[in-house]
Subunit: 314 residues, 4 copies
């Protein structure tokens, strides 16, 4: 059975027809306006109209960054789109002529589900997905099922507290994991290191064109791959925070696998080796179970489309 | 359908016939020897023989403090009993004449399941159980199912790290939640407070008979209920650590309910109010979902028997 | 003997003739340009010319925000003025006709010295001065002498680390005391609290005119004095960080007195009581010595002038 | 001018005649009884009688582990000897026939002073002495003078808090520096590491004779020198805590030198290199001053005698 997955970004949506093996058979895109929720409704209806001409489609999964209620119909809150308690499912439905099943999902959940079903996690039943990008998002698979929580707000992994009195987070709290294990944290730590030791930070500063405020995560990764000692240390520190936090999650959920997605994955073993060591070092009951593997995500940018489509079938 | 639940303690086992509503129809006990695993096997077989004379029993659930494999047959490790990779299920079976279903469960999981099915959590699908005793144990219910993890070692909630570089834990790590949110932590903090300020600690010291090493958790609770300011503060601090840690779990699992079991529950609102405030203060996405309730467990000491029996039916 | 004290701010200098009792006999001011170091040299020479017409002056003390070398002649670095290894003493001298003694001092040291000699600390020999403003500055008096350190950079109290992995500091490190015990910290914590709980933060948000970014420290203090529970809590938290950090300083230096200066002093006991409790709670060897007092500074904004003048006499 | 230095230990006292260059001209010892304060008084009088037969002595300095009042006459509290507000100076004087000057000093202060006057610190005016033994003691030299504090209890460096909510300390507080930077911390961390990873800890466990409770600091040092990776890591971690804490002290006092004494010094660069790196990494105002050196103490076990004698002359 085919389903359409729609990945809603800030200024565009990407959609694809996905078969039961997770293969994308056809794709399309539309530009959207984040401040105009109706433009997004129309775009979703539009891609459905287009894609359903050539394929028989029995469900639409819509993935978006935001809190989705447990009925998978309403976006409670979205950080980058004008959705506040927005009944996205019903608004889209009202624009369609047929009664195709429509399901709304959090985008990190969709991507994690894709990895679980068709990617790095297809061999396991219990998995922690971490999407290490600007922030730290994620998804939890427990016993083969996606964890949505009582109110649809589970898997806000980035807001587990890892340091009491630690870094301020945009959520209003201190010490959230994403302030230590994200691309933003990597860049901030790099900028701080340049302040502390200009000589040691010279390579990174040069890569940033002379202004540390312009430094990017990929530049840090590039510098590390070129052997810059500071950049290597910064990625190792990021890896350690990923691994140590994952060990806390493992104390709760005992996953068989931790999948790392997001841009920092480009750093490869410069990130993963420290993450694995830190995870093993901090893992409780270490001698009494196998250690969960830590692997990179394998589904790429289309994980959101694939996961949303697949979740719509359930 | 009736099932027998067996709760294995250090020096005795308690067993009961439990019906499908969680009611215990009959109970019995046996003394056991923790260093003699076979004595426990025989005691389990023995209580089954006794109880199955009067009741038709279709399953036995055996709850024990320790790591149980995901097949629910073998105790991987137990802190207080001589079990190391011990095939408890098969050893008991070998002593029985019939082929009644036998299931081994972690005792905290069993107690949490009883609360979920018949106690404080019977109205919810997603629940965090915390057993605050000498240590901090617990159980996780996600989507109506008990979380066991990939290797049966999930819900080791007490070993989520809450303070990097924090208190030493018997597990070899630092800063584990149970070093801040347990009866032992309460007593240690009380002892430390007596050292810091003898005047302020005078009431507690007197309750301990003049030697802080003899202080107990119930004494601290009693002093708090009698209005001793230090004891009130100590319970409030314990409550805050419970609440703050529970907020980290909520970031991951979004439970509808946190159930507090174990001896410290006797402190009632002296503990629960600070826990609730701290939970609310630390909860991420607070404005976008209802707040989980924090309630005391309602099943008492027989939760292990009831939960083990009920899990054996599944 | 009279001395002139000069307090160099970002855009103006204030100067006064100070007698040996710390009384300011005459004052004057000049506008200056922070990007033009020579304009400041000329202004200092100019106020000397003016004030020395009416008073016999034997020394000039110049106080400035920045690192001053241990010879008290050169500003190594200033955050807000274009001084980098700037020989301020010699530049001013070159503009003067006579050989009056000229001494350069860090402004926090000057203010602390004034409190020690003529203000809150005049009865003690060992004192910690904390200037809690935008940042956290201070001065240390040990055995009746100002602590300057081996390279003139002592008493950077705000950069003692109080939380490993804590808040980012402009200095490039994490967890510096000033990120927890300053007016900026107060405002940031208030802004965060508004994000966490809009209802609880409503009063502060209203005081800020509806935009938390516009909130100021004095608004928080005002709200606390009017009884707003959140504001009271925020000042108490600030006070606790002041007291706990001061206890660490006391472990090192065993001062008889901690003097709190800077704008937050306006909060009075709303700040001081929590500071005193936290200090006592965290003080080591508490039963074996009197507890240092914690008092507000008494010299006001002219402490810099008075202290600089007095230090120039030594 | 000659002075006698007396170093009072738990079960014996060691005394020597010291000249103005810090050279010990003659030595003697007496056994003492820690529970019998009078036995110590007599032993001090006795060594004075013996040593003053051959040397003209003008002062006696008595060094002891404990809090000494600022008049340098009374031991306020001693952890290992039966002194509580004990007027040691006057008790000894009452046993003597002449009116030789007698001064009581804290033993860590005495040892630090010896390093400052005659040892590693003889070229500087501002110095931090750290004695890393069972606990973490120290001495502070500011502007060429020993810091005693308002009540004689300064330089309790081990009780500066470095981790809020950190390890319990015998003083009743949490997170004291000495719980991270001492020989005891080294051993506890080693024991914890053995629990976490038995394979990695095998060498240390073997050195301890198979029982981690018997492990000693010198065994960890020996293992590190023999290349055991865990032991090397443990010493590096100890070194980092020393360096990071010293950076906090440097923010306050800007010393030119940090001197490391105590048993862990045997680890040499395995300890010092990580300490130096961590100190440099955490040092505030790093680009604006030279970095303090970190060196081993050079005076050996007789530092207490030499320092006590020299301080008695002041």
């Amino acid at each position: 059975m085919h389903a359409i997955g729609v990945d809603i970004g800030g200024t565009k949506i990407a959609a694809g027809v996905v078969d039961e093996d997770g293969t994308i058979l056809a794709q399309t895109r539309r530009a959207t306006e984040p401040d105009d929720a109706a433009s997004i409704d129309r775009a979703v209806a539009d891609v459905y109209a287009e894609l359903s001409q050539s394929y028989e489609v029995q469900a639409i999964g819509v993935a978006a960054a935001g809190f989705v209620n447990s009925e998978r119909s309403t976006v409670l809150f979205a950080p980058n789109i004008a959705w506040r308690d927005y009944p996205l499912r019903d608004r889209v439905r009202a624009l369609l002529d047929d009664d195709v099943r429509i399901v709304v999902e959090n985008d990190a959940n969709a991507a994690g589900w894709a990895e679980f079903r068709f990617g790095a996690g297809r061999a396991v039943d219990d998995m922690l997905m971490l999407t290490v990008g600007t922030g730290l998002g994620g998804a939890l698979i427990v016993g083969g099922k996606l964890v949505r929580g009582a109110w649809g707000v589970a898997a806000e992994v980035g807001h587990m507290r890892v340091v009491p009195g630690g870094h301020y987070c945009g959520c209003g709290h201190e010490g959230c994991w994403e302030q230590y294990a994200s691309g933003s944290a990597l860049v901030r730590d790099a900028q701080a290191a340049i302040v502390v030791d200009a000589e040691r930070g010279a390579t990174l500063l040069a890569l940033a064109g002379g202004d540390a405020q312009d430094l990017t995560g990929p530049q840090v990764t590039q510098a590390a791959q070129d052997g810059d000692p500071l950049a290597v240390d910064l990625l190792a520190q990021l890896g350690r925070w990923i691994g140590e936090g994952a060990a806390s999650v493992a104390a709760l959920l005992d996953p068989a696998l931790v999948v790392i997605g997001g841009g920092v994955g480009a750093a490869g073993d410069l990130l993963l080796d420290p993450a694995r060591h830190a995870f093993a070092d901090q893992l409780s009951a270490r001698g009494h179970r196998p250690e969960a593997k830590i692997m990179l995500a394998s589904m790429g940018n289309e994980a959101g489309i694939v996961g949303a489509a697949d979740l719509a079938r359930i």
